[in-house]
Symmetry: C2
Subunit: 239 residues, 2 copies
Amino acid sequence: MEIQIAVAKTNKYATSESGDTLEVVERPNGGVSIVLADGQTSGRGAKVISSMVVRKVISLLAEGVRDGAAARAASDQLYTERAGKVSATLNILSADLQTSTIVITRNNRSPVFIAQGDRIECLSSESSPIGNSRNVRPSISEVPLESRTTVVMYTDGITNAGDRYGDNFDLCTLLESLLDEQEPGAQQIADALLSQAMRLDQNRPNDDMSVVVLRVMQRTVDLVRRMTVTLPVGPASTD
Amino acid sequence: MEIQIAVAKTNKYATSESGDTLEVVERPNGGVSIVLADGQTSGRGAKVISSMVVRKVISLLAEGVRDGAAARAASDQLYTERAGKVSATLNILSADLQTSTIVITRNNRSPVFIAQGDRIECLSSESSPIGNSRNVRPSISEVPLESRTTVVMYTDGITNAGDRYGDNFDLCTLLESLLDEQEPGAQQIADALLSQAMRLDQNRPNDDMSVVVLRVMQRTVDLVRRMTVTLPVGPASTD
């Protein structure tokens, strides 16, 4: 098997700093976790909050703390530091090789999609952001880590794409049609979802947007782990 | 401009756990850092050491601590925790958007290559691993963050590839020929360097091997940040 994780991320239009923070961390007992937080509002203030939350979570995960406990700790820390006045959404997506499961931890109203075989499930149970109260519980789901599984999670910039123009983003239908293609890669799916969201906002994203796609593929080409990061610097140009 | 970072990483033959640890972290003032450590020996013991070192460094970098100070802190921590008996190599490669420079921090006998324009420079000044003494200083180099720059860093599994068979790895010549091609991507270079190293060890790597390639490309296609991680699970197969 091969686990593929892909991220595509853009800033709110005309904002140099994204309020979304995303980090990937290796799990000490095998596997990998992706931590995604979106701080209230956007720009610098939101960035400070979302990085604080993500930093807390990755340092706990790296020490072997379980995902749910790490999310609660980040919530309590944010609540304490900001006196309950600032909130953030938090998602943790883990491929846990010790338990052979995918663990999805959500403190976010935006849903998470899980496709296994021909079935796409939408995790959209009530789940509140962290930081506003002392008793925030994450909503946790666990599915077996097996091939042909796809998980998609994202921040509310994606959920609300098109809102300003009276449009809305039917992510589930788009995901279904993408998965119908011949073994699309995780990056291909993430790129397609982000660009549709950007189109709905007329290419001027109304909020920071981040999409994470995890896919479990049947084949293993080799025993090499790979990671690629691409970071645009300065304005886009075509030369 | 676009910054591309690529990693290719494999374990010592017949070892399930790599002693090399690598993490990527966003810099709080803009940019990204890659932290690579190789713990003494291989397998579980080496992994514990290298993760401890990398965790220390990334948590300091995420708080805005400078690279050199983070490397010294990790050295002092390792020296204190293991009473000077265990060493690790450490490399930090940062694309710092605040200073518009690439900062290379080395506590590693393996060299780092920097290609700018037609010139390939090899940073191979004496530089000792961390953890063995109290006064370890990293060797730090800084080059402008400009397009057509390529930086390659790696662990000693790559440096020593082929040693067992009386061969040696002329990485500089291979890198030169790769860069002569039409704009090779960072992942393409990392993959080519790793597979040549594996070939020299007759596809049974004699040690954990990790290669990191950072490239600065002239063009910016769009304002989307991307990340892809691929993680093989279980034995390689071709179905």
